[in-house]
Structure formats: C-alpha cells, structure tokens
C-alpha cells in the first residue's frame, strides 16, 4: 500500500493509504481529526476546507497522496499551542457566526485564508463573494460576514472592532 508523509498541524505523519484515499478520509479516519467535516459529494459545500501549504483547499477533492510532503492545517491546529484562540475563531464566537457548528470548521478555514490573502482590505461584497465555496444552512451568513469583517483588522494588526 502506498505511503504518504505529511505534516498536519505541525506534526509529521507517515500513513499507509490507498490511491483513492481522500485527504479528508486520511484526516478523519487515520489521524482522528474529525473537526474537518464532509457535507456533500460534489465539492460544493466547503465543510471539508483545510489549509494546504498555506491556502484553502477542499480536502474531499484532494487525494491523500497529492498531499505528500505538504503542510496541512486543520481547524484543530488553528488555535495557539497554549489554547489561545485564533482571531477568526474568537470573531465567530463573538459575533454568533455559527449555530449547529457543522459548516463552521470549513467556514473558519476559508475565512482565515480570505483575510490572509487580502491584506489590502475586504468589503462586505468581497467577503460574500470570497465565501462562495462554503455553504451554511443555519445563519443566513449575516453574522459570518460580520465575524470575518471583525477578524480582518485583528489579523492584520489593526484595532479590533467591537461587536454590537
């Protein structure tokens, strides 16, 4: 059976997989990182979004073997080692940007990438367009958009914006 060696949340793993094993299956079933979810089978919903080599990808549409040598970060690896939450996690909690929590890990990872890759700023329209690859059925996105906007200045070292 082929082997894949990759770094997940800072820790290196070598795992036996099949050719067809998806990255999300590797994470959930082999590494027990069940924070990354599967919400569809057509690569639409984004619940499986993780960071791979610094950018957001759908781990249900990536073969585990394609991640050989890669550095992957999942929702479990987002907070600091001492447990301090990432600003995006804080913003989601502060702005009630989640309800059932199922889409949340993928949504947070997409949002982190969106903010990181837009140092020049993000309008509300940019955020809404930028989250096109993540479905949420609970919130109507209103509070997610607010949370992402609130996390932007924190992540870019600017003054945080207070919640209403």
């Amino acid at each position: 059976m082929p082997q894949v060696t990759l770094t997940v949340n800072g820790k290196t793993h070598t795992v036996e997989v099949e050719g067809r094993t998806l990255l999300v299956e590797l994470l959930r079933e082999k590494l027990g990182l069940t924070g990354t979810h599967v919400g569809c089978d057509t690569s639409q919903c984004g619940a499986c979004t993780v960071m791979m080599n610094g950018t957001s990808v759908k781990s249900c549409t990536t073969l585990a073997l394609q991640a050989d040598g890669a550095s992957v970060m999942t929702i479990e690896g987002l907070a600091a080692a001492d447990g301090t939450l990432h600003p995006m996690q804080e913003a989601f909690r502060e702005h009630h940007a989640l309800q059932c929590g199922f889409c949340t890990p993928g949504m947070v990872m997409s949002a982190v990438d969106l903010v990181q890759s837009h140092p020049q700023g993000l309008s509300e329209a940019d955020i809404r367009h930028g989250l096109e690859g993540n479905l949420c059925r609970c919130t109507g996105y209103h509070n997610i958009v607010k949370a992402v906007a609130a996390a932007w200045p924190v992540m870019h070292g600017k003054q945080p914006v207070a919640a209403e």
Binding site: G35, C40, E76, L85, Q89, L98, Q99, G101, F102, N143
Partner: protein, 795 residues
C-alpha cells in the same frame, strides 16, 4: 470586579461554541465503535417498479462483506414497518389510507431512493463495491411525480389501496357560511398558487450507528435526530419490538435539522437490528446525493384561494382548496402538515369571519414529504399574503391599508379564529408600523426612481403573519389525530455545592439551548451562569422528552424547567424554614437567597443545596434529602408568534437576475431570553425563506427522476445570494406559559417568502404580472419580461 449580566435578556455568548470553533464537536459520523461494520443501502433507481427478484449471491461473496439483507430477513425477524405518527380522517369520517411502509422495499419500489438491499461490510468502500454486485430484476411501472399527474383520472396508482392516489380528503370550517358570504360579496378575488417542493439540506448528512451488548441485551442507536426519545418510542415499539429499557438512543451534536431529522427513518432501524443480528456495531453515513432521495422533503402544495370582500374591502370569507403531495409513503408527521399545521392558520392576522378549507393529500412516486422549517405555516402564509397583494391589485385598495383594515385588533385577544385556533396575544399594528418605519417604506418611491435611473426594476413587498407553534397541547392534538403526546420534560439536579445540571427532553442542533436554558435556570435559581450545564440527547440520562421542532423548546421545554425549578424552590423553602426556625410561609426566595420575610435572616441557595445532601440538621421526618426535581409540562395552548417582514428587490430586466437589496423583519416572539440567539434564528429562517422564494426547487421530471438531485442543480443560498438581514422585535407576552415566550425558530421561514414574492411582483408590475410561483429564478423573470415586451411590440 464587575459582574457580567448573564440573565434573561442578555446576549450571552454561547457555551457550545468553543467546541464547535475548535473542531471538537461530536457529531455522529465522528464516532466509531470497536469492531464497527459499514452499511450501504442499495436504493431504487426506478421511480416505480415491481421487484421480480433480488440476487445477492455475488454481493455476499465479495471481499469484506459481512452480511447482505433484504426485506425477507426483516420479515423473518418480525420487523415492522416505519410508522406514521398522525392520523387524519376524511370528510366522510373514514381514516386516511395508511399503506405499509416497509423498512426495505417489499415487492415494489415507489420512489427513486427507496431502499431495497442492505449491504454490510468491513469498510464502506467494500460495501459500495458489493452493492454494485446486487442484481435486482425490475419491471417498470408507470409513475406519477407531479400533483397534476397523480390526480389525473386514470393515473397509475402508487398504492393499490389508495384509489385516485388519495390518502385523505379532509376539510375544516363552515362551508355553507362561506358559500353564503361569497354569494353576497361585493368583490371576489381568486388565486392559484403552488408551494414549491424543497430539500431541507441540513449541512450534516444523516448518520446512524447501531450497537448491541449481548451481555445486557441492550441496544444502542447513535443517530442524527432532533428527538431521540421519539425515535426510541417509534422504533422500539413499532419496528423492532425492543423494550425501552433495553434501547438507548443518543443524539449527540447534530448539524442542523430543520425538520428533516425529526422522523424515524429506515436506516436507524436497519443499523440497530443488524447490530443485534451480527453482534457488531453497524455504521451508516449518508452521502449528500443519497440525502436528496432519502431525507424527507418539504412543502409541495397546489392551492386555489378565494376571498370574498364587501365594498369597503373588509374580508367576508375565505375559501381554500389544496392538494398536498405526500410522496410515496407517509413520513412520521406528514398528514398533519397540510391540515392542522396549515389550514388552521388561514385566518392569519385577519378577522375573516368564516373560512372553509379542504385538503386532498395524495401519494406520488417521490420522496416522502414531511415538516420542513415552518411546516404548513409557510404554505398558508404564502397563500394568504400573496392573496392579500392580489386583492389589493385587483381592487385598487392600498396593500398596507387593506391589511390594517382587516387586522385582528390588539384589544381583541384572546381571539377565536374560525379555523379552530384561539390566539392568546399579539399586536399586528405595532409590528407592521415598526417594520415599515425600519424599512423606510415611505421612502421607497425615491429608491425605485433611483434604481430605474440605473436600469433596474425595484420592488418592495410586505407580509404580515402569525403562526402557531410551541407544539403542543396533548389533549388538543390528540383529538386532531396525533398518536403521541407533545408535552415536555425537565429534570433539574442541584448538586451538593450548588451547581446545577439540567436534563431536557428537547434537543439542540444549532439553537443554542446550552446557553439559553442555562441563562434561564441561572437567573431563576440565582446561581452563576457558569454553574449550570444542560444535558440533552441521551435517552439513558433524560427521563423522557419529545424533542425539538415546531419552535417548542423554550415555550414547552423551558416552561417544564420553570415548573421543576418551582419544585426545587418549594423544597428549598422548607429546608430554609427549618434552618432559620421560621414558618415556610414566611420564607421568600429571590436572587439566590431564601430569606425570612421582613428580616435579614437568610440562607443562600448553595447552603440549602449542601444541607439537602448533608442533612445533619434537616427536617428528615417530613422531607427527603437531596435536591432534584422533575416536571412534565403540557402546554395549555399553542403559542402565536407573528410579525411583519419587508423585502426590497432589484431586478436586472436584461437578464432577469434578482437581488434582495434590503430585508427587514420585526417579529413578536414573546419574551426574549438571549437576543443574539433570537436574531440568529430569525436571520437563518429568513435565509431559508429567501431560498425558497428565489432559489430552491426540488424538481422531478414527469417520469419521477429527481432532476435537482445534488448541489450542482439544487440552488442552495450562498453568502452572495443574501443581503444583510435587519431583525427587530416588538413583544407581547404569551399569556399561558410562565415565561411569556412564544418561539423564534420558524418565524423567519414563515414570514419571509411572501414578502420576497410580493416584492418581485411589485418590481414587475409594469409587465402585467399578477402572480408568480416560487422560485422566482432569473429565467422565469426574463420569460415574463420577454413575453410582455413581445406583446408590447405587437401592440
């Protein structure tokens, strides 16, 4: 240190969020049991066919396969069919036709997705491989998917025992009085409407794990359910015949439900039964495409509505005729949706004196239809509020004035409607005024003109609505056909040091119960918010419960908590009286202290708790130790949230593209415990309502194939489809529960679709549009504009 207010009315941040934002939630598919096997269901790819034979020999021999089961194996074990929880009687008094709903298809398949064979293997992929080796020999039968085809005179029958494909032909109201009122009416306005079929699509697909302990004989089912006790009751009593003390049902973190996870599904029975059979855990996780053809769908009604009015525009009578498509089999609550959850709301917020409604429910070769967020009330609200705007258009009466003229006035409560319900409270003028102001209704003409200068068609729409939730008074619903009670249960366990665990029979799958209920209990008992934890979703821990749907958790479950807390406080007073050497009548409880009235002599809640568990100085002859109480609360009535939604849209006439540019809701949901959570619930409901109005459509072709069977064709609302949603509240209290709460889970999905569609019709008013069915897709809008332009050109 400043105390943070975490009581009733505070937007406390949610307790449950830390695990969800950290990826530490525990959803069913996250769990695995030692020795676990995997179930795949071979489902029908035919809308309607006779099963001539099933050959499972190759599948059984495939690598990794543990077992392959068909209906014959279930029959041999006496496994029952999937039960229906509500019985409706037809006009003539006969009970509804209730066809067998086998766990695995028996003799015939009746919809694409009907499960036929259960394949269990060591891995999911092995089970999938083996499923491909199952050979089912079918003879196709003609199928019906659409209402018009199912009710056609010589339509093929979905069930031989249901002539005309009719499940029931029911009615409500005074037909003669309505006919008489129509005869003397100055105006009669008639409208045909369709309420589009929807796929709930909670983001977490359904999943179930069955397990069996041969030593104790106990079965465990972990399932994505909104109501684990209901599943235990239905599956234990009717399907698998397992006594309840030997059946534990767990519903852990559940990723959204919206109704679709209320029902008892075949897969739950299969994993539980097979686990006992194989003495190994069996896991099933639904793929999304599988969910499209196996989760209960929502809506799918065709109606004709007619209003009779006097010369001044006062409503005289309403007549409604509906055909409801229930799909191939009766799902758990399906018969109640078009009837007692819909027709009973046809008075709406209006004082229409007489109403007659008839509902014919039919079978078709489609996925079963059941309650989806709002369940029946969105259908009646869409019907009424579209009819209102059509009346305004036909008669020339201003649509706001027409509503005001016919509102049930604020001083008329309690108000008995002609369709069975008695509203306890409401103030529809206030929510209307507040919403019109917040939406700047008065300034719309300017915005329309500005949009026109940009080549856009701008429209505004309003809907004023009431709904019935807080489900439900058991005696009443029992009389209406419910086969179960709908009370709720709370157990409050005060620990020796004064912290509290609350066991609730409701279930949270996004609603934030761990926070709202903790706020409620903390504030009532005067203990810190952090000292209260909520437990739900485990039939072995919680005495009983009916779960979460119908916006019932706070109104019914919360009130049960209040009743249990009343017992705790009553007992605490006795303990305090003993300690303080006072009479029980003189003990007052407030802010976490038991005080002798008129004195400063007091014992804290914590001291009383400790005394109850360490009863060294205790009235042991008259009082048991411990501080734990259980209450069952059966509500006296439904609750009646209502309000006003205002929607503003812009249409690009060249492409038909439509954008919701403003959405304003002002709702009366009774007392609000956590405004942040209430706003979130309403925003989410409105998003689903906008989804129904503009995007979502479960389309079957005439042959019975689901055309929009994945996210590639079923349009889910995404962030860029939706506007910011402004939510406000105006409160009248529910008069019959201790908290004055009404419920907020469904109002968004109920009030919003007609507001959107009224705005769409308003935007298109220059094109001669009187009504448009949902969803208002760009193509449909363009077709209207194009047809009108063609007509204009021809003129």
């Amino acid at each position: 240190m400043n105390a943070i207010f975490e009581g009733i009315g505070a937007s406390v941040r949610r307790k449950e969020d830390l695990r969800f934002i950290s990826g530490r939630g525990h959803y069913t598919d996250d769990m695995n049991r030692a020795g676990q096997t995997h179930l795949i269901l071979k489902r029908s790819d035919r809308p309607h066919a006779i099963i001539n034979s099933i050959d499972i020999s190759a599948a059984k021999a495939a690598p990794g396969v543990v077992a392959v089961f068909t209906h014959a194996d279930l029959d041999a074990d006496g496994v029952g069919g999937v039960p229906c929880g509500w019985q409706i009687h037809s006009k003539d008094g006969s009970p509804m036709v209730e066809p067998a709903h086998p766990v695995l298809a028996t003799g015939r398949v009746r919809h694409v997705g009907d499960p036929v064979v259960a394949i269990i293997a060591e891995t999911k992929q092995q089970a999938k491989n083996a499923a491909e080796l199952v050979v089912i020999d079918y003879t196709d039968l003609p199928a019906v998917a659409h209402i018009a085809d199912a009710i056609a005179p010589s339509a093929p029958l979905v069930h031989d025992g249901a002539p005309g494909n009719t499940c029931f032909d029911w009615h409500l109201g005074d037909k003669e009085a309505v006919d008489a009122a129509f005869a003397r009416a100055a105006h009669r306005v008639k409208l045909d409407l369709a309420n589009n079929r929807l796929v709930p699509n909670a983001m977490e697909p359904r999943a179930a794990i069955g397990d069996y302990d041969a030593m104790s004989g106990e079965y465990t089912l972990i399932t994505t359910s909104q109501n684990p006790h209901v599943i235990r009751l239905l599956m234990g009593a009717f399907v698998l015949h397992i006594p309840e003390h030997k059946l534990r049902v767990l519903a852990p973190d559940v990723g959204g439900g919206f109704g679709s996870k209320i029902y008892h599904y075949a897969e739950e029975a299969i994993v539980t039964w097979a686990a006992g059979k194989l003495k190994r855990p069996v896991k099933w996780t639904c793929d999304r495409s599988e969910a499209f053809v196996s989760d209960a769908h929502g809506r799918d009604h065709l109606s004709t509505a007619e209003m009779a009015l006097d010369a001044e525009g006062n409503f005289l009578a309403l007549r409604v005729s509906t055909v409801a498509n229930l799909g191939a089999y009766l799902s758990t609550f399906a018969p109640a949706v078009p009837t007692y959850l819909s027709a009973t709301l046809l008075a709406g917020v209006y004082k229409t004196p007489v109403i007659y409604s008839e509902v014919r429910a039919i079978f078709s070769n489609t996925v079963p239809v059941d309650a989806y967020r709002g369940a029946g009330r969105p259908e009646s609200t869409f019907l009424l509020e579209r009819l209102l705007d059509t009346i305004a258009q036909d008669t020339g009466i201003d649509r706001i004035e027409l509503r005001r003229r016919n509102f049930i006035p604020a001083d008329a409560f309690p108000y008995q409607t002609p369709v069975a319900l008695q509203y306890d409270s409401g103030d529809y003028v206030t929510t209307l005024n507040s919403a019109l102001k917040a939406a700047d209704w008065a300034g719309f003409a300017g915005r329309r003109a500005e949009a026109k200068s940009r080549g856009k068609l701008r429209g505004i729409g309003v809907s004023t609505y009431v709904e019935a939730c807080g489900i439900a008074p058991s005696k009443l619903v029992g009389a209406l056909g419910a086969r179960a009670a709908l009370y709720e249960v709370a157990q409050i366990r005060v620990h020796p040091t004064g912290s509290v665990t609350v066991f609730t029979g409701t279930h949270s799958h996004g609603q934030g119960h761990e926070t709202t209920f903790a706020q409620l209990v903390a504030s009532q008992l005067g203990v810190p918010f952090s000292q209260v934890d909520i437990v739900h979703g485990d039939t072995n821990k919680i005495p009983f419960g009916m779960g979460t749907y119908g916006s019932r958790s706070l109104a019914v479950g919360g009130t049960a908590m209040v009743k249990a807390m009343d017992k705790i406080i009553a007992k605490g007073k006795k303990i305090a009286a003993h300690l303080l050497e006072a009479s029980v009548e003189d003990i007052e409880f407030a802010d976490g202290n038991f005080t002798v009235a008129g004195t400063d002599r007091a014992k804290s809640f914590g001291e009383i708790a400790l005394t109850a568990y360490v009863p060294h100085n205790y009235p042991i002859e008259e009082l048991e130790p411990g501080l734990e109480e259980t209450a069952f609360y059966d509500p006296a009535n439904f609750t009646f949230p209502g309000g006003c939604h205002v929607c503003e849209v812009e249409i690009d006439p060249e492409t038909g593209t439509i954008q919701v540019v403003n959405f304003t809701a002002v709702d009366d949901v009774g007392r609000v415990i956590n405004p942040m959570i209430v706003e979130g619930q309403i925003q989410g409901g409105i998003a689903q309502g906008i989804g129904q109005a503009l995007l979502e459509d479960a389309v079957y072709d005439k042959a019975g194939q689901l055309v929009s069977g994945s996210f590639m064709d079923y349009t889910m609302p995404r962030a860029d489809n939706l506007p910011n949603i402004s939510v406000g509240t105006e409160t009248t209290l529910c008069t019959h529960n201790a908290l004055g709460v009404k419920g907020c889970g469904e109002v968004g999905a109920i009030g919003s679709p007609p507001a959107v569609m009224n705005a769409v019709v308003d935007a298109l008013k220059d094109y001669g549009v009187r009504h448009m069915n949902m969803p208002a897709t760009p193509m449909k809008i363009w077709q209207i504009i194009n047809a009108s332009a063609g007509k204009l050109a021809a003129d």
